[in-house]
Amino acid sequence: MSDATEVTGVTDGTDGTGPSGATPLLRVRGLRKIFPVRKGVLRRTVAHVRAVDGVDFDVGTGEILGLVGESGSGKSTTGRLILRLIEPTEGSVELDGKDVRALGGEQLRKARRDMQMVFQDPYSSLDPLATVADVVGEPFQVHFKMSRKERDKKVVELLEQVGLGSHHLRRFPAAFSGGQRQRIAVARALALEPKLIIADEPVSALDMSTQSQVVNLLLDLQQRLGVAFLFIAHDLSIVHHASSRIAVMYLGALVEVGDAEEIYTRPRHPYTEALLSAIPVPDPQVERDRERIVLRGDPPSPLNPPSGCRYHTRCNYAMDICSVEDPQPTPTTSGGTVACHLHTSGPTLNGRPLSELGSVQTIPVRPSTTS
């Protein structure tokens, strides 16, 4: 793999956190959520969970940003903080230049039209006693006080958008398969013509043959309607496929952000490398030949994250500095950012960090499609 970075022309975002170009659609800076842990009769706060601990990223207009991480990494909390379904402790969330956190009441409700959410489990996110017309049409009633007739007309249009027929209008969720339910949930999210949809593990509850149907639907909507997505998932291969950029989260912090293809083929952070290596590849030959990086131990508890770099307890490359100092995001040559001491304090060769010379490299999961 040669230095394909320059060739592919991944342009440098201003500070590496965002897509290239003008003001991003969504701009998240220093986002933090600290949950108190209460115990005893007096509900005294005995500890704090730093679920999301200072996260910076942008989502461009019409862009799909993948947010990956394992359970407990804070990826779902991040999604909910953006919508203010959970109130952030600190930080700013700007949508179209407006700070969502400063809004209240009517203004917040309006801002929420532009941001919608699709949840993981379509079996629990749809009211079993509400028909498709009710579920998908409710936003019109809430926001525009439309009559039932107008609503139904809109709902039929939306159902067509997501590949469902108008004959489904009066049916209840129980009549649908998982994939169809997820389409209904997507139709509901689309109702108010949002600019951004936060999709939290939208396909992981689905069967394999329906997963690709829903991924295709999301890609279609992005291309046809120009909706941007924050695609939250743990499956890097699906995220890689659907996203233009990927942000990797570990224990509440972003360890790496960058171009999807770059992250998938040339991960800069040891955790990203391990995550990629852990995904079993559907090819027995590759599986036999490759050296898998097996990470030691479990992810530490967010109640008590390790000092310094929070990944150092499991990292194969950990140095002395890693347990002391928390690494800050630094720009990479391919226009992303990585928070890892290897890139700033690591060993160098010819004045360049080894990690940039391609020593941190994963197995080629499949030949890079850009080369």
Partner: protein, 338 residues
């Protein structure tokens, strides 16, 4: 792991041979057949993957082998394990097979462990149930097993309760428990689905190394083709209650025989260039009450011809150690490009 033939058996007689296994439940009005004439086999030391989507009957067939289905289930057909017929074996005899010769681990380790007993207590009980002996000996065996599955400080952890363990560690405890009587066959029903990928790879590596060390056979029930490629020697694909293909994995991943197998492999993101539309199988798996006439896959099959709508194909041996349930398998050549 490469299918070590059973030591001492000249002709590799299968350790487990399942023929025409059917499972039916009595519904409100009619009898619903959930598994329909499933046949598969595996040799000692070998790993068979049973792959299918939800509702395909993959879990029900493995539970049926161990007599773990509710009393309302009607199980017919034959399943010979090491010369013994498992189907309709008297409960008392079956209890002796279960946990002793054949063990099972489930998807969710938390619900499989009793929260009110220590891990050591549960492990020792599993051992003494089958092997008897003193409590002390059983506890020593339990500690040995915890060490085997890579749990640090086994002596101390024996005295802890399941909630003291993380998800990955709980699954290790389950594996330790299932292997404590050195079974010949381990059935793993989606053992890593509830775990994170980095923990999944730890557990898969553990199972592979344990298998190499202990020589047991495994049945891996999963929906993840990556997991199949990583741990299995053979794969059986189930669709709507039927086995539609059984192949060695190298053949399966390069030249699947059944259009459904090919469709599954093709729908993986790895099969197309980044950002392109994923290939997909149209439609959804039919529920057991609405099974199509003829080939069960025909409404979703791009190769379906008139005959497919009329005749229900049999599972046919192709002569090279593979089996397929498709009338057109000989004329179709379904290569997977990647």
């Amino acid at each position: 792991m490469a299918s070590a033939a059973a030591p001492g058996s000249g002709v590799a007689r299968p350790l487990l041979e399942v023929t025409d296994l059917s499972v039916a439940f009595k519904g409100h009005k009619e009898i619903v057949t959930v598994v329909d004439h499933a046949s598969f086999s595996l040799r000692a030391g070998e790993t068979l993957g049973i792959v299918g989507e939800s509702g395909s009957g993959k879990t029900v067939s493995s539970l049926a082998l161990l007599g773990l289905l509710p009393a309302s289930a009607r199980v017919t057909g034959s399943a010979t394990f090491d010369g013994r017929q498992l189907v309709n074996m008297p409960a008392r005899k079956l209890r002796n097979v279960r946990g002793n010769d054949i063990s099972i681990i489930f998807q969710e380790p938390m619900t499989s462990l009793d929260p009110s007993f220590t891990v050591g207590n549960q492990l020792a009980e599993a051992y003494r149930n089958h092997r008897g002996g003193s409590k002390r000996a059983a506890t020593a065996r339990a500690a040995e097993m915890l060490r085997l599955v890579g749990i640090p400080e086994p002596q101390r952890r024996l005295g802890e309760y399941p909630h003291n363990f993380s998800g990955g560690m709980r699954q290790r405890v389950m594996i330790a428990m299932s292997l404590i009587c050195s079974p010949k066959l381990l059935i793993a029903d989606e053992p890593t689905t509830a775990l994170d990928v980095t923990i999944q790879s730890q557990i898969l590596e553990l199972l592979k190394s344990l298998q190499a060390e202990l020589g047991m056979a495994m049945i891996f029930v999963t929906h993840d083709l990556g997991v199949v490629a990583s741990v299995c020697d053979q794969v059986s694909v189930m669709y709507a209650g039927q086995v539609i293909e059984q192949s060695p994995i190298d053949d399966f991943f390069t030249r699947p025989l059944h259009p459904y197998s090919a469709g599954l492999l093709d729908s993986m993101p790895q099969s197309v260039a980044k950002g392109e539309r994923l290939r997909m199988i149209a439609g959804t798996v039919p529920p057991p009450s609405r099974i199509p006439v003829g080939c069960r896959f025909n409404p979703r099959c791009q190769y379906a011809v008139e005959a497919c709508v009329v005749t229900a194909p049999d599972l046919e041996a192709t002569g090279d150690g593979r089996e397929v349930r498709c009338i057109r398998h000989a004329e179709l050549s379904l290569e997977i490009s990647r």
